[in-house]
């Protein structure tokens, strides 16, 4: 290796390390601050390590309630999206309806509009006309509308890759189409459904704008909105509580990824191993 190349390699490594540190700093804060009773915006080792911040969070019934609301909205949305996307994608993949691809593409096109901020006003109007303002159902429905087309698209692609001969052999062997679907197709599609479920869960769990607009009362707020209640009267953030709550809030997503990775094993391409 020539001297110049060696130097440029060192330079590159140093630069990469600096960038890495830059990105790591907030994460380190994110892990340390919750356990520090005197946490501030600056980075500091907790001394002593304490769970008092968490104790305060769990005494705050609004904060706990919000986590529970997040769970209702995410799980509700995931069930609706998972079930509807599976059935729709299966039909779109296996049926011989002409123009079925066009349907998926048009839906996909509009979905980015539906859940985008541009559509917030019409969504608000529709939901209030339905009398669903300030209900968890409203949040679930809007997410289902926004995420379903993409979920259908991904799943359809996945199902297209599964030979039809699975269900065909089941039907020749005496199974009804419904039996063939539940006994043979569904178990084979399951890894694809898991991808959809994780993706939809993360999307809903982390969303702020839609619940913020559609929900009024504090009893309905999800955690993403509730985080904004950890401010003092003067409007400055109560960093200790914020840090502890943020950690709790991020845990389900992390756990979900860990679970899926342990149970199914993520792959970079094609989502998940069967």
């Amino acid at each position: 290796m020539s001297g110049g190349a060696f130097l440029s390699r060192i330079g590159f490594s140093v630069l990469a390390a600096l960038l890495g540190v830059l990105f790591a700093l907030p994460l380190i804060w994110f892990i340390f601050a919750p356990f520090n009773a005197r946490a501030e915006m600056g980075l500091a080792l907790p001394d002593p390590w304490t769970l008092s911040n968490f104790a305060t969070v769990f005494q705050n019934s609004f904060a706990v309630r919000a986590l529970f609301n997040s769970l209702i909205q995410s799980v509700g949305g995931v069930i609706l999206i998972g079930a509807a996307a599976t059935l729709a994608a299966y039909a779109l993949s296996r049926s011989t309806i002409p123009g079925k691809s066009a349907v998926t593409y048009v839906l996909l096109l509009f979905s980015s509009v539906v859940s985008g901020s541009a559509a917030m006003v019409p969504i608000f109007l529709i939901i209030s006309a339905m009398g669903l303002i300030d209900t968890q159902l409203a949040v679930i429905l809007v997410f289902a509308g926004g995420l379903l087309p993409t979920a259908m698209f991904i799943l359809r692609d996945f199902i297209d890759g599964i030979p039809k001969s699975y269900e065909e052999s089941a039907m020749v062997a005496g199974a009804s189409p419904l039996q063939a679907f539940f006994d043979v197709a569904l178990p084979v599609i399951r890894p694809g459904i898991v991808v959809i479920v994780v993706w939809a869960f993360v999307n809903i769990w982390g969303s702020f704008l839609i619940p913020f607009i559609l929900l009024r009362s504090s009893e309905q707020m999800p955690a993403s909105v509730a985080i904004y209640s950890f401010y003092s009267e003067a409007g400055t953030p109560i960093v200790t509580l914020l840090a502890a709550y943020a950690l709790i809030y991020s845990l389900p997503v992390v756990l979900l990824y860990l679970f899926v990775s342990w149970r199914f094993g993520f792959r970079f391409f094609g989502g998940i191993k069967a």
């Binding site: 001969s165 052999s169 039907m171 020749v172 005496g174 039996q179 178990p187 084979v188």
Partner: protein, 370 residues
């Protein structure tokens, strides 16, 4: 077991006709092979028997029952798929027993039956494995076991051996042959491999472009191919076809082509009829009916040696004629011949096949017209 009948069945996909007005009658206990090149409509025909495709027009009967619009599950048939279609999430026992599960059999009963069938097929020790954990040959036998595990009126096979290597394929072919003789099953077997069809079938239906061009027992297909297409498809290697110019001569038929010397063939009535349409005929001669002959011999065809492949017991000797066309002989000697040397291949007149200008067989006198 039951018979299968196609009554003027046509299947179109959009503007493309995959199966064109097929009439076919498969007797109870017959093993019929649908043989033809890729894309000729074999799989589509088979899938219509299974109910996985619906004919565009025409009717299909299994036994006395018109099954044209019947759902696959109500047909009491079995099918072995080309890709085996083993369910990846079920172990072999559950895979084989699945048809019994949908018939509502108890777990003990269906696993007992699965074990019986698996033992016959020598996969009895693998029942707890997943399909991904067994070899291709074992997967093939598993899919066969799943087809055999329940009583069925007709057994359908779609190129079930095409994913096996040569040795396993021979072994599986032998087993299927044994099974057919043992069970007397009615079977429809799709293949593009003529050797497989010859070995297994009681009758072969040779298909070309959605039509059946000949439907006859294997030996008949071999001895009296109905068209140049069949002649060129059956046999290993297939029949040599040489375009010839025909002429009358003293009640004899004179055929001429470059490098071809042919003594007097009798002028049969069939030939006389054919000659009224065109003097351009095709002479067919099977490689196994050619021998190396002395230069200038009668009833022979000559050219320069193009290739000489020794296969062990026999050699495939291919000569190239002046017009560039090739003729292959299967010869049971291993004489060394120089590449490019002049070679004369002789034959006897009884082995000559004649086809008219449309490619249809010209029956010899005394031969039943097709």
């Amino acid at each position: 077991m039951a018979s299968v009948v196609f009554e003027n069945v046509t299947k179109t996909f959009g503007s493309f006709t995959a199966v064109a007005g097929v009439d076919l009658s498969i007797g109870d206990g017959e093993f019929v092979c649908l043989l033809g090149p890729s894309g000729c409509g074999k799989t589509t025909s088979l899938r219509m028997i299974a109910g996985l495709e619906t004919p565009t027009s025409g009717k299909i009967f299994i036994g006395d029952q018109d099954v044209t619009g019947l759902h696959p599950k109500d047909r009491q048939i079995s099918m072995v798929f080309q890709d085996y279609a083993l369910y990846p999430h079920m172990n072999l026992a559950d895979n084989i027993a699945y048809p019994l599960k949908v018939r509502g059999e108890s777990v003990e009963k269906r696993h007992g039956r699965a074990r019986e069938v698996a033992d016959v097929l020598k996969i009895g020790t693998l029942l707890n494995r997943l399909p991904s954990q067994i070899s291709g040959g074992q997967q093939q036998r598993t899919s066969l076991a799943r087809a055999l595990v329940y009583p069925s009126r007709v057994y359908l096979f779609d190129e079930p051996l095409s994913n096996l290597d040569a040795k396993l394929r021979l072994e599986a072919r032998g087993f299927l042959n044994h099974l057919q003789r043992d069970m007397g099953m009615t079977a429809v077997y799709v293949t593009h491999d003529q050797a497989e069809a010859m070995a297994l079938a009681t009758r072969i239906a040779v298909m070309d472009q959605g039509r059946i061009v000949q439907y006859a027992p294997p030996i008949e297909i071999y001895r009296r191919p109905a068209t140049t297409f069949v002649a060129n498809f059956v046999g290993n290697p297939p029949m040599n076809l040489v375009p010839v110019e025909a002429a009358h001569g003293d009640g004899q038929l004179l055929l001429s082509a470059d490098g071809l010397a042919l003594g007097g063939l009798p002028m049969s009535s069939g030939v006389a009829t054919a000659l009224q349409a065109s003097k351009a005929l095709t002479l067919g001669i099977r490689p196994e009916h050619l021998t190396v002959a002395a230069p200038g011999a009668a009833n022979a065809i000559s050219g320069k040696l193009f290739a000489n492949e020794n296969m062990g017991p026999e050699s495939l000797v291919t000569i190239e004629r002046a017009d560039g066309s090739r003729v292959t002989a299967r010869i049971f000697t291993d004489d060394h011949i120089e590449l490019g040397a002049d070679v004369t291949l002789g034959f006897s007149l009884e082995h000559v096949h004649l086809f008219d200008s449309t490619g249809a067989r010209i029956p010899a006198d005394g031969e039943m017209p097709l």
